[in-house]
Symmetry: C2
Subunit: 601 residues, 2 copies
């Protein structure tokens, strides 16, 4: 048979009366009144092809042997469907193809699961047969969208004068940040490459090299324990610009996101995006990536709590912690004590020791701690929180980090549970003025909140030594609907400042030199001011495609144990391969294998 | 100072009379008659800025402190240059900028080498200071071109309905092909990922998944000993299509290359490209990637040689080898005996034991072996080779592979040496009908000439068992000016054929199952016919940019020992990192380290 004339999913009314050649997969076969109907599928959709003995006895005979997922080609005439059998759900629903000729191109065994939009097959099975899973329309559509998104990004950045430059995958291990994936060198015994956690240093070197505007859509790697929204390899839209300030990078990025929304979703979003400082986000939402599609802000009640006779509250404040509350509008009647207990259990996940609550009723407050609220305190609570008759007020009193984490997550949960979120909204938001450092209590040292190349605000330079915790950075995160979409900063371009930064992070001069000497060296030869941003492509696709699982937007994803169930990577390799790389296995015997040894004695 | 108004390199006559703000690097400072002239450089080029005390005494004072590679910003008025000082070599040569204000943004130490187009600084130094090397105009231009090429590729493929899909970097090690880079798994003790040598299997799985048209510009990895035109990580334009035959893939590829040539070089190239079978290429050029920009074809003289009394010739044929010749037009007088000896030494690199030669003179042949050519043989030689009076004829007699390799390389050398090559020509060529297998004498087994997924010609299926060497593939290479630009094939989509292929390659059923079971399994569930191509992006950029070194087209390349001289990757890592990965160093003590031990006793 000749080449196909179009895709199955594109055979609309305009083909009526024409002969078409189509190639695709058999979605479904139905035998009805001496006729055979087949839904033929390709990446563009489904078309109904009809085998009618009046049209071709031979084709009908072949059709009788056709099963699901066979690959077939058909030649036939497009006819209009009778009004009664029009399927308005699909683009090809007004026509069908009367088959004159059919060939089976390839057969299929009965697949392990049916190829259909909705499936309750376990993800493990679907990952093992990923090529079948990818035939499912929702997944196929996700990858179309992923393509459209990168296309929009490239078009925007190309038109804005950015050059795409590739940076190395085999690069240098640095102890800062997450765990590196290592690659042993064959040529240099005992040495290792690392897969990049981001091209951060290379893009800065490109700026020092005068490239001025760089971008790359690039794979990055982190050997971390995986959660549902993490993958060992992930894709980043990586951008860097010279001679810019924070406003330039933010404006460029707003333009890019607006372009994506327009090209991919057909939505005009408003720029500039709303902004919030990190401090405001933590104060009002308890989290650095607020979902602003609904209100229910956190209210700080420290002053009020100090005045109360309720020790849980007053002690928390006294110990340097906080008391905050959220108001669940009109929820007083909806939430039983049992329901509230469940909320408390949820809050405990985030470290809260308890969840205090009151219901606002006509004549005051209700609930086990209502007694601690006298008239004045109640009035102040009402004033501070805006709570009204019929509202439920939830309190957490603890150290600030626990208060924020538990109430922020409770807020997000309630937003979903109560249907407060308009799923059609895309709320972009900047979170600015980040702290430069984060203090790690366990390791008793400061870490860079973003990374060690982030520029302190010039007026905070002195704080690097005197009060690191108070130092703020020219850093900015872009948030979409409660997810961090990306983050960036103006970078240090002065070797002195960079040296101070490494010192503040606890590096000795020698360590800084050994790990980042080449960058410090580069700063000596005319580094321009520069800054940039990196956005997580996988997460962006997930959000725009309305998925909740990162694995749905990666063609061949890995499971939580970083396994590819399809190819069964990682796998054992030949000892000779390891010898070549000057390494050997070094497997600690676990209790388990000891037991096994016992068993085999 | 405000934002720049344009790039330095773009300040042409149209700015005359306007005030501009420019930011860039100081290329050169000249002090002349109380004025200071600075060539200010950014990625778009150079502009001359003038510090004149009549215009700004302050600016002049600052200018006196400015050195090469300082980063500065200037505000000034664009004026026309006097006719006598117009520089027609640069775009901004008709103007200069009279500086009203200047700021030093960042200083520079004296760089280890001057930033100029031509340099004789060693490559090692330039790689160590790659960020400075990248400021050199020829290199910067190469990366602009690289960007333009990928842009043209994406535009063409996007418009042609291809989806870009990312395939994994952490994937499965397979013993076939080159040596893998391995990545130890932390989660799965004793197991390893491999970095992909190509996304071959994944793109085939995408076809089985119904994606229909796939592309990706993707990093691939081979842990091989490096030559000037190899890098451990390289970039491939990777393409796959379903329901296509060889002609479809070739036509698509021709369209893409034509688009690149048009968009990037402004050249209209003719499609379809000329074609040559592999057998013809080996016969006429001795090589599978002929440079067709000049003639000098290899002439096969086996029949003639058999008839001759010259044992070197006749024995070669008798032993199953070949005798071939190339005619160097008009070179009889140019090449002395010493010159020809040098050519012989060159031929020996490729295994030739000697290089026989005759010069065609008015009354016959000249040279040490002329005596073996009687009148009839001479006439036949003249007829077969087209040699004329004044030509030099070079012969190699040996086994075919040696004859071909030595004459092909000699031909390429002579083409260059004699200026026979029009460097402005871009000769694209298809080499088709490849053998399916290559025989490795050392290992005494067949290898896939392309890869084990290449489809045999349907009519050659029986040869897989009976006569593998004669089996041909639906495979095609695209060649540009003597370089392999890319290669592709129609793939096997039938599990039976794939199983036969693995068998022919010496895999046991178990080995095939273990390594490629998931692919064979996928073939069971409706694999469409499919094929594709992969092109080497680095090499393409190198050829179009007129470079001869792959490192010039890679932003951060590695040396022949796979080292990044800038970051000093690979490097030693902490033992704790290795412990996490369940590996240990396994360094064999070499004679050298033994000696060192002796020394330290």
């Amino acid at each position: 048979m000749e080449k196909r004339t179009t895709y199955c999913g594109l055979v609309t009314e305009k083909y009526i009366g024409q002969e078409v050649i189509l190639k695709g997969w058999v979605q479904k076969r139905r035998d009805l009144g001496g006729l055979i109907f087949i839904d033929l599928r390709d990446r563009e959709g489904i078309v109904q092809v009809v085998f009618n003995p009046d049209f071709s006895q031979d084709a009908l005979a072949i059709a009788e042997t056709i099963r699901s997922e066979y690959v077939v080609e058909v030649r036939g005439k497009v006819t209009e469907r009778a009004a009664a059998v029009v399927n308005s759900k699909i683009k090809t629903g007004k026509i069908e193809v009367q088959v004159a000729e059919v060939n089976i191109i390839n057969k299929s065994e009965t697949p392990p699961f049916q190829i259909e939009a909705e499936t309750d097959i376990s993800e493990d099975i679907r990952l093992k047969y990923r090529y079948l899973d990818l035939r499912r329309e929702p997944l196929a559509n996700t990858f179309k969208m992923r393509h459209q998104i990168t296309r929009a990004v490239r078009n925007y950045l190309d038109e804005s004068g950015f050059y795409e430059v590739e940076t190395p995958v085999l690069t240098k291990s640095t102890p800062e940040g997450a765990r590196d994936y290592l690659v042993p060198s064959r040529v240099q015994e005992g040495k290792f490459f690392a897969l990049p956690q981001s091209p951060q240093i290379f893009k800065q070197l490109l700026m020092i090299g005068g490239f001025d505007k760089y971008y790359q859509i690039v794979k990055c790697f982190r050997d971390e324990d995986l959660r549902a929204d993490r993958q060992p390899e992930f894709t980043q839209i990586d951008i860097e610009m010279s001679f810019v300030d924070q406003e330039d990078v933010m404006a460029m990025n707003e333009g890019m996101l607006a372009r994506i929304m327009k090209d991919v979703k057909g939505i005009d979003i408003t720029t500039p995006f709303p902004r919030m400082t990190y401090a405001e986000a933590m104060r009002d939402y308890g989290i650095d990536k607020p979902d602003t599609r609904f209100d229910m802000k956190l209210k700080t009640l420290n002053d009020l709590a100090s005045k109360m006779d309720f020790k849980v509250f007053s002690e928390a404040v006294k110990n340097g912690g906080a008391v905050k509350a959220i108001v669940v509008k009109g929820a007083a009647d909806k939430y039983s004590r049992k329901d509230i207990d469940a909320l408390q259990e949820f809050a405990k996940i985030y470290g809260a020791k308890g969840l205090a609550w009151v219901k606002v009723v006509e004549d005051g407050l209700n609930g086990p701690i209502a007694k601690f609220f006298d008239e004045a305190i109640t009035a102040e609570l009402i004033k501070l929180t805006g709570a009204e008759n019929g509202d439920l007020v939830l309190f957490v009193a603890d150290k600030s980090s626990v208060v924020n984490a538990s109430l922020a997550n409770l807020r997000n949960k309630l937003g979903k549970d109560l249907g407060l979120i308009d799923e059609n909204k895309f709320n972009f938001l900047w979170v600015t003025d980040w702290p430069l450092f984060e203090y790690d209590e366990e390791l008793d040292r400061y870490f860079a909140a973003h990374h060690p190349f982030t520029a302190p605000k010039p007026e905070h330079l002195d704080l690097l030594k005197s009060n690191p915790e108070a130092a703020e950075a020219n850093a900015y995160d872009v948030v979409l609907n409660g997810y961090e979409l990306g983050g960036g900063s103006i970078r240090i371009h002065d070797q002195e400042v960079q040296a101070q930064m490494f010192e503040a992070l606890g590096f000795t001069k020698e360590e800084a030199e050994e790990q980042f000497g080449f960058l410090m060296n580069a700063f000596k030869f005319g580094a321009p001011p520069h800054g940039g941003i990196a956005l997580g492509l996988d997460r962006m696709v997930m959000l725009l495609a309305g998925r909740t699982n990162l694995r749905d937007v990666i063609a061949f994803p890995k499971t939580a144990s970083a396994t590819d169930l399809l190819t069964e990577a990682p796998s054992a390799v030949a000892t000779a391969q390891l010898d070549d790389l000057h390494i050997a296995l070094n497997i600690k015997e676990t209790a388990n294998t000891e037991e096994e040894k016992e068993d085999t004695k």
